[in-house]
């Protein structure tokens, strides 16, 4: 079948870098990146549950790692990633009902996702710090 010794180079679409970043494209890739980040968070959740099963010492070790400053920074990032993916996901579910495709609604819902994610992240941490006393 393949008599070609040299493979003909396939045509490539322009590299994504030549496009000016727009809210639409940035939020699209953000939804995917946050999804991958949250996959790791899901594994950490299970490690945390296993630690709780193992006993108070293992649980204290995991809690200690989360309470460290690097753990807190990562947890803050994960919280923001969670709310971005949640709000972005709800935006996608609305699109799935064939609503919100007019350009101005695309941008309105996009900025709503950004604003809601920031506010929910701050609210969650304020509530958490309040609970910690």
């Amino acid at each position: 079948m393949s008599n070609f010794t040299v493979r003909r180079p396939r045509p490539l679409s322009p590299n994504i870098q030549i496009y000016r970043p727009q809210l639409t494209s940035v939020l699209s890739i953000v939804n995917r990146i946050t999804g991958v980040i949250l996959s790791f968070c899901a594994v950490v959740l299970v490690i945390w549950l296993i630690a709780a099963t193992t006993g108070p010492h293992a649980y204290a070790d995991v809690q200690g790692a989360i309470a460290s400053w690097i753990g807190q920074i990562m947890l803050f990032g994960c919280t923001f990633a969670f709310f971005l993916h949640l709000c972005g996901g709800i935006r996608h579910l609305v699109w799935d009902t064939c609503h919100g495709f007019e350009l101005r609604w695309i941008y309105a819902s996009g900025w709503t996702v950004v604003a809601a994610s920031v506010m929910l992240t701050v609210a969650a941490w304020v509530a958490s710090l309040f609970m910690a006393g």
Partner: protein
């Protein structure tokens, strides 16, 4: 069986697509997403409420029937959604022979970690 398929009758008649199960993947991703909205919000709210709680308090909370059931449902929906999402990411970006290895690893890994999480939750719930 066809009656439960989310594929439209026209799409079935034309019969395009190599695996003919793209719609099922798409639909499962949506169903798990809808389940995850309340489940993850419950989880985040519960974690916030337990900031600073000690081990005994946390375990006592997870042993309540509602928390046990919701945690298990969360793990099922979460890892189902994760497996579906990561599969698409792999299909889009991995073009070498590693694609199949990566797809299989992610799928089996999600099953394994979900099972570990469910067993851990049950052990806390029914443990001595």
């Amino acid at each position: 069986m066809d009656r439960q398929s989310m594929r439209s009758p026209l799409a079935r008649a034309i019969g395009l697509g190599s695996a003919k199960e793209g719609v099922e993947h798409w639909w499962a991703e949506r169903v798990s997403a809808v389940a995850l909205v309340p489940l993850t919000l419950w989880f985040v709210a519960s974690i916030i409420a337990h900031t600073g709680s000690d081990y005994v308090t946390f375990v006592a909370w997870l042993r309540t029937p509602l928390a046990t059931i919701l945690m298990i449902l969360l793990l099922i929906a979460l890892f189902h959604h994760t497996a579906l999402g990561l599969q698409v990411v792999i299909e889009d970006y991995v073009h070498s022979g590693a694609k199949f290895a990566a797809a299989i690893t992610v799928r089996l890994g999600c099953f394994a970690v979900a099972a570990a999480g469910i067993v851990a939750t049950l052990r806390i719930a029914f443990g001595g």
